[in-house]
Symmetry: C2
Subunit: 519 residues, 2 copies
């Protein structure tokens, strides 16, 4: 272990400092005690803002200049437009045009559409990225080509980092499907409607300067206003904030793989047979193929048993919206809106409620919604025999995914990882994961097409499945079976001892390190 | 002037320190520049809150104890239940029962129902009050019987003081007509529904500890949640939070006085004849008799001219709700809900939107809504010939009223004070007001039953009324006429040189002093 490294409570080697800032190594779930006050931006005064409320300026470059853009600043954007986003690049290019250098780009997530940021990094405009890196940017980071370390945070961890002042945003650029000249804005209406704007909320509250970018300006007041103009400095109108066809998918597809459909069915049966499915219960399901299929199975079981949920959480999709319409849940508490049905529903149904990483995921709040969810169904790239799981790298150690809300959701009453037992002939259950993203004590059940493995810590769940006809097995049994099929455990990743990124835990401590891949 | 006093930019003598804290004397509108960061409470962690989300404790005493109640703390409450509130007293009595001393009570406003706090001050439980004092508490303060100085702030000034850390709330007690065990709460539903809970929002965000008190607990999630449970420490259920008949009035009455009806008509005609009334305009009107009558007049004029407002602001009442229903405005932006029609509307009509002192009034934000309002119609206890106005004391200098949103509303495009020319044979237009609450440069028009006086600074308005048949006169003319009727100017108040309270300006500076009345 290098002199700059320390072993944390998960037994992982992590850097003592990251991008010049001292770090706290992971201490265990609930072991870190924050001891300072929240971060707050400078006090502003109405004297410095137009009495008319009209904060429009000609373009992003003007807005950035007026915000005092200078070298080394932290520029944040959000990922509500997903792979259809055009605003983050527009902002960074505008900053480049103004000659800015060494910026830290702090997106809530980045997507393949942001690949041109590699060029901005090569040109010295962007120093490094802290935020989920999906696809090409993750690979670029893995190859050690970024000047700073990547910092991967969960959605809740990003809120925590902003709130706690670990990341001080100089300028937040918020792309909005609808806005007024005062800066009030919302995501549920307009030609680029994307649903909730919850990921930009922390930025709007804590950043020193906030720019709203919209392609759909309405007269004051923009109702509803998920982002409040009272936190906004400038408003910029552009032709288009993004490609609507990539902002939301018209349809989100249920898996067609028989193995994955079987996995989904096992998940639903597990939730039913353990008695988690009962009147007033709650669950969270993402937009992955298995999760969507699970919802359909559970829906039929709920109908058959006459059970109604109090709330469901998403990633909202047609499938969750149907539950609401069919009166099978009182509410959708929506973290992110994934398809057109979700956008339409959140715009029109008061029972479909936008949440934010503050309400749902921030571990440094007075509680959050995640621990109130009875069952959450998640994916993983790898799981080890001790129930530690990985979502950011594959077994080759290459960074390809962000954490999303995954870490935060682990605090649900029952956390279920629904995963195929192998992908491309590479087993998913391993002796040790390449990157610990979630600690074993929070991961309760692994469901694969080959059986259901319950974490031995959850004796209560083990008892509750006695008598069920589910294929309950030990995780080792499933591992051995899969290795028999594919011809042994996966090859160990070939990595260097050079850190390229760190994985933060929900409390801001450093859980693990992502290492540079060997050439 | 005593050694502890200094003359401010309004020419008023104000204390250099108030309750032990150094003060900034008023410097003029828009002259004070804040130079620090906002106040933020300590970082909390989910580790210290129940994973189930159930934050209920047995009673207020238990909650206060768990919040670490100790001598000298700042306890805040809000006034959404107006003269029907039972929770503020319940909280202060519970604190007394725990032996607490020298508390600072920080209500958003106090009412005659809070008169028993005088006894708590006599017993040493409450040291002093900072907040609007309506009625008996104001008189108690005027008589110099409070140990500390009263501090009167506008609704926006209260947000500013909390946000800026001028007042650090230790424990906020928030009475809620509906709440869930997590602490999410809302005011628009339940047997004690009062409409918006906007006045408690700053407290919930900035206080160290927050207790929600409700008589209508619902299962998580309480939808909508105007106050977020993520800021709440404990939830207490009580039999009743207040007397619903005093929380909202079934009806709010238009004045029957012919003089006041005439004043209301002049106001409406002024807004029409100056061209302020045009498509897309906005106005604010309170719940006073003249204001309500003005709305009825303006409504008829809007109908006749085919004009629709973009938004109206209240104090919402039946009269504003009717405008919304009749499609004469796109939105009601509601600061406070005054009658049952307002409560029903805000609970059910998405065009009737709850605001907060942050959105509407906070001068230390990036703008606020008040300056976007085209015309605002307010009252006053006194106005001087230079257009300075008073709302907190009468000409006898006795403190009897709070500032409410009055100071904040002065930033509207056109501020109109609609007042009777005399009350109880005491002229309202004077040479010098007893207490400056609003500076002359922000007060544009005085409307009385004897004529309309326009501030000479507003040459634009003077030009626009040329040709109107409104009785436009100078303020001096009206003053002379009234003094002729009642037999001369009012008697000068008999006051001591001992300060009992200060009036803050919207930026936290000290605008004026309220003096102890002579025995």
């Amino acid at each position: 272990m290098g002199s700059g490294m320390v072993e944390n409570a998960a037994g992982r080697s992590v850097p003592r400092t990251v991008n010049g800032l001292d770090q706290v190594p992971y201490k265990g779930v609930g072991e870190h005690v924050p001891e300072t006050a929240k971060h707050a931006p400078r006090i502003r005064s109405c004297r410095d803002y137009p009495a008319s409320g009209d904060k429009r300026v000609a373009n992003l470059a003007t807005a950035l200049e007026k915000c005092g853009l200078s070298d080394g600043m932290v520029i944040s954007t959000h990922h509500h437009f997903r792979n259809g986003d055009q605003v983050a690049l527009m902002a960074l290019e505008a900053a480049a045009g103004l000659g800015a250098k060494d910026l830290m780009w702090f997106p809530s997530a980045s997507f393949p559409c942001h690949e041109p940021v590699i060029d901005l990094m090569d040109r010295g405009v962007v120093h490094h990225i802290e935020g989920s890196m999906n696809g090409p940017l993750g690979r670029h980071c893995s190859e050690g080509k970024m000047r700073g370390l990547g910092v991967l945070r969960s959605h809740g961890g990003r809120w925590q980092a902003i709130q706690d002042g670990e990341v001080k945003i100089d300028i937040a650029v918020i792309a909005a499907p609808t806005a007024d000249p005062f800066g009030n804005c919302d995501g549920s209406h307009g030609p680029s409607a994307c649903g909730s704007l919850g990921f930009a909320l922390a930025d709007s509250v804590h950043a020193e300067r906030v720019i709203v970018v919209t392609d759909n300006l309405v007269p004051f007041p923009c109702i509803p206003w998920q982002i409040q103009g009272n936190n906004v400095d400038y408003v910029v109108e552009v032709e288009s904030v993004g490609d609507p066809s990539k902002i939301v998918s018209g349809t989100t597809q249920i898996t067609k793989s028989p193995d994955r459909l079987l996995t989904a069915e096992y998940v639903a049966r597990f939730i039913r047979d353990t008695g988690i499915m009962k009147d007033g219960f709650s669950f969270q399901a993402g937009a992955g193929g298995i999760a969507l299929a699970f919802v359909q199975h559970l829906k039929e079981m709920m109908k058959a048993a006459g059970v109604k949920a109090r709330f469901v959480r998403g990633g909202s999709t047609q499938y969750l919206v149907d539950l609401l319409k069919d009166e099978l849940t009182d509410y959708i508490l929506d973290g992110q809106t994934f398809d057109l049905a979700g956008v339409e529903s959140i715009a029109s149904d008061p029972r479909h409620v936008a949440t934010s990483p503050f309400t749902s995921y921030n571990y440094h709040g007075k509680g959050n919604f995640a621990s109130l969810v009875d069952a959450t169904v998640l994916g993983a790239t790898e799981v080890d025999v001790n129930f530690n799981a990985n979502v950011v790298t594959h077994s080759d150690g290459v960074l390809l995914h962000g954490i999303g809300g995954w870490q935060n959701c682990l605090f649900a009453g029952c956390t279920i990882l629904a995963i195929p037992s192998f992908r491309d002939r590479i087993p998913i259950i391993v002796d040790e994961v390449a990157t610990v993203t979630g600690p074993s004590e929070l991961i309760d059940v692994i469901v694969t097409e080959r059986g259901v493995a319950i974490n031995p810590r959850r004796e209560d769940l083990l008892e509750r499945v006695v008598g069920s006809d589910l294929p309950v097995r030990t995780i080792e049994e499933i591992k051995v079976e899969v290795e028999g099929i594919v011809g042994g455990p996966p090859q160990k990743a070939v990595l260097t001892d050079e850190p390229v990124a760190v994985v933060k835990w929900v409390d801001g401590t450093v859980l693990d390190t992502v290492w540079k891949v060997a050439d």
